[in-house]
Symmetry: C2
Subunit: 217 residues, 2 copies
C-alpha cells in the first residue's frame, strides 16, 4: 500500500514538475535546484554567485527551509526577489510548492531562478521540481566517501561543486578517492573544486553557469 | 490521503518501536540511536567509543546506510558484532528493520547497541526505533545555525555532541550562537564539545555514556 501511494505522490509530483518546466522554458528562465547536506555551503555559494552575476543577469531565489528565514536574511542584501518556503518538518521541496511560489515572481523579468533546497543529501534528489538541472554541492569536511555512499544525487546532477577546499589541509580528505568514486557514478560530470568563503575555483563555476544561462535565452 | 497513510506508517512504526523497547529493557541492552548529517563524524565517534568502552562493556553496532558497507568495514577491527542495514535509497531507519536485525545479535551478551542511522539531519529524528535515547551529532563545519534551522533532532535527543572543534579556528563558527540557540530549543540538554579525530572533550562523553550504561543494568 505504501508503495502504491508513494508512486501516486511521485506521479503527481512529476506531472506538476513537467508543467513547471514547460512554463519556465516558455519564459526562458533557467532554474537550478541546489542540493547538499546541511551546512555544505549552499547559501554562501548563492552569495558569491549573486555578487558575480547580479549585474549581468536578472536573478531570483527560492529558499527552502524547514523553519526560519535565516538564509533569506543573508541574501536580501543583493536586492533580488526571494521567496521562502518553510516545509514545517518536510525533508525536501516538491513541484507543487515550486509551482505555487512561481506566482510571486515576474517571470518575464527573470533569467535565472536558483532554488536552495532543504539541507538533505537524500530526499531532494528524488523529487523533480521542474528545474532545468540539479546542482550537487558537497563539502570536503563531510569526507571523500560521499559520492559512493549517497550516489543518487551525483547520478542526477548536471554538475558537482566540491566546497571548502580551504579546509582540506586540516582533514583526511583525499581528492583522488573523491574524484575516482565520482567518475564511477557519473563519468563526465563537471566538477568544480571551490572555496566559497575564500573564492578559490569560483571563476570556473561562474563561466560555466554563465554559458548555461546564455544558452537558455 | 497522504496524511492518513503517513499516520498509518508512523503508528505501525510506533507499535513496533514499543515492542523493541520492551525487549531491550528486558534484556538490559541500552540502545543509542546516533543521528547526524552526512559526514559529521558518526563512524569516527563509534571508533573512539569502541576503543574506550570495548573492554568494559559488550558492544554491538547496527550500521544504517543507503548503500555500501564502508562504515562497517571501518568498525570491524574492534571485533564486535555489527549488522549493516542498506536502505536502498531510504532516508532513515525504521523500527521494523531494527526489529528484524535484533535476531542477529545475542541480546543476552550485549550491554549496548549503537545504531548509526542514515546520514540525514531530518527524517531519522521523526522515527522511533525503540531506542533508549537519540544522540544528536553535529559538526562545527556545518555552521552554528543548525539547532535553529533543524530543531526537531535537538528537541528529541537526550544529548548533543558538537564534533570537529579542532576546525573552529578555520571557520566562522560561533560557540555562543550555537549554545544559545540550542538552549532555546532544549534548555537542559547535555552538550559535549569534542574532536573525534584529535580526542578533545571525549572523556566527558565517555563518562556520561558509561553512567547511562551502568544505570541501565
Amino acid at each position: 500500500m505504501e508503495i502504491k501511494i508513494m508512486k501516486n505522490i511521485l506521479d503527481r509530483n512529476q506531472n506538476k514538475a513537467d508543467e513547471v518546466r514547460k512554463l519556465l522554458e516558455l519564459k526562458k528562465v533557467l532554474m537550478v535546484n541546489v542540493i547538499s547536506s546541511p551546512g555544505a555551503g549552499k547559501t554562501t555559494l548563492l552569495e558569491r554567485t549573486c555578487e558575480e552575476l547580479g549585474e549581468k543577469f536578472r536573478l531570483g531565489i527560492v529558499e527552502g527551509d524547514i523553519t526560519t528565514d535565516r538564509d533569506a536574511q543573508r541574501l536580501k542584501k543583493y536586492n533580488i526577489p526571494i521567496v521562502v518556503i518553510n516545509t514545517e518538518g518536510g525533508c525536501h521541496l516538491d513541484s507543487h510548492s515550486i509551482s505555487k511560489v512561481l506566482g510571486y515572481f515576474d517571470l518575464d523579468k527573470l533569467d535565472v531562478l536558483f532554488v536552495e533546497n532543504v539541507g538533505n543529501l537524500i530526499c531532494p534528489s528524488q523529487f523533480d521540481l521542474g528545474e532545468t538541472f540539479k546542482l550537487a554541492l558537497v563539502s570536503t569536511t563531510e569526507g571523500d566517501d560521499k559520492p559512493d555512499k549517497y550516489p543518487m544525487l551525483f547520478r542526477e546532477a548536471k554538475a558537482v561543486l566540491l566546497n571548502k577546499i580551504d579546509l582540506v589541509p586540516y582533514t583526511n580528505f583525499n581528492y583522488n578517492n573523491f574524484r575516482s568514486d565520482l567518475k564511477k557514478i557519473n563519468a563526465n560530470i563537471p566538477l568544480f573544486e571551490v572555496s566559497c568563503t575564500r573564492g578559490d575555483g569560483l571563476k570556473e563555476w561562474f563561466d560555466w553557469i554563465t554559458e548555461k544561462i546564455n544558452n537558455f535565452q
